[in-house]
Symmetry: C2
Subunit: 372 residues, 2 copies
Amino acid sequence: MNPSRRDFLQKLTGATLGATALPFLANAEPDVEATPYAGPVLRVALLGLGSYATRVADAMKDCKMAKLVGAVSGTPSKLDDWSKKYDLDKKNLYSYQNFDSIKSNPDIDAVYVITPNLLHKEFVLRAAKAGKHAITEKPMAGTAAEAREMIAGCQRAGVRLMVGYRLHFEPHTREFIRLRESGELGKVMHVINSTGFRIGDPNQWRLKKNLAGGGSLMDIGIYSLNGARYATGEEPIWVTAQEMKTDPQKFPDGVDETITFQLGFPSGVIASCTSSYAFNAQDRFTLIGDKGFAELQPASGYGPTRGKTNKGPIEQPIVTHQTLQMDGMADLILNKKTISPPVDGEEGLRDMIVIDAIYEAVRTGKKVVIKS
Amino acid sequence: MNPSRRDFLQKLTGATLGATALPFLANAEPDVEATPYAGPVLRVALLGLGSYATRVADAMKDCKMAKLVGAVSGTPSKLDDWSKKYDLDKKNLYSYQNFDSIKSNPDIDAVYVITPNLLHKEFVLRAAKAGKHAITEKPMAGTAAEAREMIAGCQRAGVRLMVGYRLHFEPHTREFIRLRESGELGKVMHVINSTGFRIGDPNQWRLKKNLAGGGSLMDIGIYSLNGARYATGEEPIWVTAQEMKTDPQKFPDGVDETITFQLGFPSGVIASCTSSYAFNAQDRFTLIGDKGFAELQPASGYGPTRGKTNKGPIEQPIVTHQTLQMDGMADLILNKKTISPPVDGEEGLRDMIVIDAIYEAVRTGKKVVIKS
C-alpha cells in the first residue's frame, strides 16, 4: 500500500475520527499481517432498486463490516434480478406492500432507503417501526418538518438514523476538513462551492415536484450547502438566493433549474454557492483562510475526489465512496459510535432547514434569517 | 517568435478586433522583416505619481505608439525624480496648481489620471478642458453620476475618454472573450468570478471613503464585475449583494471589506461574484457554457494571466499588460478606432451604474433592478 493510504488509515483510526475509529480499515491493508475481519457485520437491505442502489450494492461487495443481504422494491422482476445478481436469500426480498413484515426477519439489521426524496420519510418510519436501523439517501426528506418526524420516529423505535453523506468518509474530504480544523489555513474567510450537472431524461422523478420535493438544490446543491457547513465548521444564520430558469417546460413550478445561494455564518463568513441541473458547474469546493486555501475538484462526484491547497496537491487514497461509507456506517451502528461532521438525522435536518430557507429566499426575494 | 504569439497577433489584427487592428503589434515581431514603427505617437503625461503610475511608466518604455513625455504631481520632489528617471522635459512637468496651463503645451496629447478614485473626475475634466485626451484608472469615478459628468465634459471638449481596462487588451482575456463570442462554449449558462487580496497599510487612501469612494468593490471587485460583463456579453438587469465586515476599524463605514454580489442578465444567466480586501480570493473567472467552459486564473493580477478550457490550457503570449494597453489606447486615439469590449467612458459608466446598484443592494438588503 502506498504511504498516503497508510497515512490516511492512521488518521482515520487516529486523530481525525477520535473515538470513532473505523477498525475494519486496518484489515483492508493487504500488506499488513492481519487476521481476516471476524467481528460483527451489519446486514443491510436496500430499498428502491434504481441505478444508485445498484452502485451501492456493487460497492458493498468490498465491504468488511456491512453486507448486502436483502432488497425491497415495488417491481417484482427487479427483486428476481437482484436476488440472482447479489445472491440474496428469497426470504429477504420484500415488496412495498409486505415490507412491514421485515420486523419478524432476524437476518436484516438495517434498511437503506434509496427512493425518490419524498418517499424517504414513509420508508424510514416504516423501517424504524419494524425495528430496523434506517439509512436514507440525501436529501433526507422533502422539508425540515419531515426530517423532524423521521428523527422522532427513529428515536421512539430506538434505532439509528443515518443520511447517505458518503463524502464525510471520503479521504480528500476528511483532509479538507482537517486542514480547517487544524488551523493550518488560518481563520476561515470565504467559501465558494459550485455543484451541478446537466440533467438528462425530462421524465425522471428528479424533475417531478411530487417525488423530488424540489429540483437541483435538493439533489446536487445540497453538496455545496453541506460542504459549506463543513468547510466553515459553522451553521448558517441567514441565506439569500437567486434563481435562473431558462427551460420552464423541463423544470416546472417547484423544480429549480439553477439557484445561486449565499450562506451567512456567525463569524461573518459568507459562502457563495451554485446549484444547477442546467450545466456542469465545475464541482468545486473552495475554502479560503487567511493563511492559505484548500480546494476540492471534483468535490462531490462518484469518481475519484481530487484536491489541492496553497502548498500543493492533497494526496489521499482513491476509494470507492460507497464502500467506505457503508463500512463506516456499519461501524458507527454496530459499535455505537459517532463521527464528526455527523451523518445522522440531525445532520440531515440541518441541511433541510437551510434548504427550506433557500427556497423561501428564492420565493420572497428576501434574506431569510435561520433561527437556531 | 512562438506560434501562439504569432496566432495571437494574427487574431488581434484580424477577426478579434475587426476594424480595430493594432498595427504596432506587427512591428513588435522580432523575426519578421519590418521597418521600425514610424507612424504617429501618442505623447502622454501621467498624473498622480504613485506606485501604479511607476508601473505604467516602466511598461511604457516598451511602447511603440505611446510615449511618456510628461508628469503631473502634487509633490515637487516626485516631479524631479520622474524627470530624471524617465527623461522628461522640465517643461512637461506640472503641479496640480498649474496643471491647467498644459493647454498651451503642444507636446502633450493625453493625460493618464492615476490618482485616488474620487479625484478622477476633477482631473479628467481639467485635462479635457485643456484639450487633452483623458485616460483614467478604474474605477472611472466614485459614482455613475460623476462618470456621466466626465463623459459629457470630454464630449464637449472634443477629446477621447478612456478607462484603464488593461485586461481588454490582454491576450488570454481576449481569447476568453473570443471563445464565448465564437459559440465554442455553447450558450452561456453561468459565471463565477472572484477577485480579492489582503490589503496592507491601514492608512492608505484606498481605505478612506473620501478618496476611494468605497472599498474593495471599487478597486478589485470591479474586475469580477467587468469580467462578468464580457464573459456574458450582456448587461446586468438586476443585482443582489451581501457584505462581510470582520474588521470595522480597518474598514470604516462606506469602505467595504468583502462583498459577494450576484448579477442577473437578460438571458437569465447569473454571475456569482466575490470582492474582497480581506483575503486572496483566488483571482479566478469561470465562464460555463452548455458546450464547455473557460477559466482564467490568475484573471486580473498584473503578472502573467493564465487560463484553461475544457479542451486544455489557453495558450497565449505573456505580455506586460500596461505596455499593450498603452500602445492599444494610442492606436485607438490616434487612428480614431474603437475596440470591443470598449475601454471608453461608456464602458466605465456601465461598471459604475452596477457598482452604485451593488452598494444600494448591500445597504437595503434588496434586489436592485438596473434600468437600461
